[in-house]
């Protein structure tokens, strides 16, 4: 019986020979085989169910946002690096290779299609990401049986200095400022997300794609604060911004995790109130690639 407890169900991502086990807090994997019924005039009932597309899988997981090093020139974790790289690839529609993902003994080659990071005051930051598995050539999208998969256990207690924390993350560069009165906003949190569209290229005679192209990407950043700026411009100037996230205790200079947003425009602003809380505002910034 393959009984795998969560402590032996690590999620590991490998790209170009570089691997990292993420501090995943949940992970789900699904594999689908599209079958469609066929009907014909003169036949009662169905002729049967037949393949309506290639088999493919989806995997998504949430993880604690970690700053574990520099991956392919980008500080943070391997997912953040992947998103940065894919974003650049999406902008020039180049061919992108998948990454190898292992999860509790099951593995496959997947393509990043979403990535998000949230940071709130006095809390550990959490990220999420989603991959689609198309398979390649004759290779199944994913395979394997449930099995223990974890690194070497180290029974030690220490501070998680490599985990992004709202206590040490300064996003004052995103604070709304209006000229009337004392108006510099307090920033309470930020939610960043990016989604990628990809185009698998299928060849006649093969079930699985020969390659995959990213076509475009859109990213959104929501900032929660306490100043409402209603005067949105019809065609505001685009700006380049960097979301800088720091680990517990404050990341040394040059080691913070950075997410660059190019050509950002503010697309909405809102304010809301709930019981036992102050009125909070939120502005949404978007960038497209």
């Amino acid at each position: 019986m393959a009984t795998v407890f969560y402590d032996k169900a690590a999620v590991e991502v490998t790209h170009n020979g570089v691997s990292e086990q993420l501090l995943a807090t949940d992970c789900s994997l699904s594999f689908s085989n599209a079958q469609a019924p066929l009907y014909a005039i003169g036949s009662k009932g169905t002729l049967g169910q037949f393949p309506a597309g290639a088999r493919q899988g989806d995997l998504s997981f949430s993880f604690l946002t970690t700053i574990t090093g520099t991956y392919f020139g980008v500080n943070g974790n391997i997912i953040n690096s992947l998103a940065s790289g894919v974003k650049a690839a999406a902008s020039n529609t180049s061919e992108v290779s998948g990454v190898e993902i292992k999860f509790a003994g099951v593995s496959g080659s997947g393509y990043l299609n979403s990535y998000g990071v949230g940071v709130q005051s006095n809390s550990v930051s959490s990220s999420s990401c989603g991959f689609t598995f198309f398979g390649s050539g004759t290779q199944l999208p994913m395979s394997g049986r449930l099995d223990d998969f974890a690194g070497q256990t180290i029974q030690t207690g220490k501070l998680a200095t490599g985990v992004v924390h709202g206590r040490y993350t300064n996003l004052d560069n995103f604070a709304t400022s209006i000229t009337a009165g004392d108006s510099a906003a307090n920033v309470f949190g930020a939610d960043y997300s990016i989604s990628f569209n990809h185009n698998p290229v299928y060849k006649v005679g093969q079930e699985f794609p020969m390659t995959c192209l990213y076509t475009n990407a859109q990213e959104t950043l929501g900032i929660t604060e306490d100043v409402f700026q209603s005067g949105l411009a019809f065609d505001p100037a685009a700006s380049n911004l960097t979301l800088t996230l720091s680990g517990l205790g404050g990341s040394p200079a040059g080691t913070s995790m950075g997410i660059g947003l190019s050509g950002v425009k503010q697309v909405s602003t809102a304010m809301s109130a709930g019981m036992d809380d102050i009125v909070r505002t939120q502005k949404n910034l978007t960038a497209v690639y």
Binding site: Q21, V124, K158, R167, N186, D277
Partner: protein, 279 residues
């Protein structure tokens, strides 16, 4: 050599006022550091989850009050003045050691008295600023520049204005005031940017009676029989007509009653009045 510290070597100072008549102090914090958990966990690592606060509980005999007129429109009881939006800081001394704290906000304030007792107050507060010792606290030093005067009230010299007590003997009362707080935390800070004095303030007044003709009311909320009362409790200096403190609440809803009888005791009744104050 092992030593011990007794009450004569302990004191608490709040906003430069020496708090007198202290019966007990309880100051504590609980770290918000929590172990991180993840799939395939290989190592225990800790990170703070949520804002770090401490708590302070203080029980005092109500025998020391500020001089009349000292605080203008404020209460002569030092601690009652913190039911509003004023924070406090202070020091607990024990022997040669000190515990510093800052940005304290009162959460509950209670005063109670029974036959044969001196009125007591109990408070619980949340410390949103700093708490403890270390180099962070060098600027927190303060001395007891204000010592409230000794003014002893007693059950024999207090006045309770409520209809029921003309023929039923009140044996004890308590007033409990809950003042909610809403801390607002921002990114890149471990202390709140602001602590909002929440609303409404809930006030509960409880009385115990040795009954004569006290009538238990209908428990159902029948509009015509709903009981609202005004309650005023005045504490006076013992054997004098000098008013020290007065608690007055209007339109309090009768929310509970209980009746007890036993072979060895008088029949007693307890009832609770509740109101909410918006601020």
């Amino acid at each position: 050599m092992l030593g011990r510290i007794r009450r004569e070597a302990e004191k608490i100072t709040i906003n430069n006022s020496g708090i007198q008549g202290v019966q007990s102090i309880n100051a504590q914090y609980e770290s918000v550091a929590r172990p991180l958990d993840n799939l395939g966990i290989t190592e225990i690592q800790y990170a703070p989850q949520g804002g770090q606060t401490a708590s302070l509980q203080l029980n005092t005999l109500l025998i020391n009050t500020l001089e009349a007129g000292y605080s203008g429109s404020y209460s002569l009881d030092v601690m009652q003045n913190f039911t509003g939006d004023i924070p406090f800081s202070g020091i607990i001394d024990y022997g040669t050691e000190k515990i510093y704290f800052s940005q304290g906000y009162l959460e509950t304030y209670s005063v109670s008295c029974a036959i044969g007792e001196i009125p007591q107050t109990s408070t619980t507060s949340t410390i949103y600023g700093d708490f403890g010792t270390g180099v962070l606290f060098s600027e927190y030093d303060q001395v007891s520049s204000l010592i409230p005067s000794l003014n002893i009230p007693s059950y024999s010299s207090m006045e309770v204005n409520l209809d029921e007590f003309s023929s039923n003997r009140m044996t004890s009362f308590s007033v409990d005031i809950a003042t909610p707080r809403v801390p607002i935390y921002t990114l890149n800070a471990d202390k709140p940017a602001k602590v909002i004095a929440g609303t409404p303030i809930e006030v509960n007044v409880n009385f115990s009676l040795d009954v004569d003709d006290y009538k238990i009311k209908n428990m159902r909320l029948v509009p015509d029989e709903t009981i609202f009362k005004n309650a005023t409790i005045t504490l006076k200096k013992n054997n004098s007509d000098t008013t020290l403190l007065s608690y007055s609440f209007d339109n309090m809803l009768l929310t509970s009653e209980s009746f007890q009888a036993g072979v060895g005791s008088n029949a007693t009744a307890n009832f609770n009045l509740r109101s909410f104050i918006l601020r």
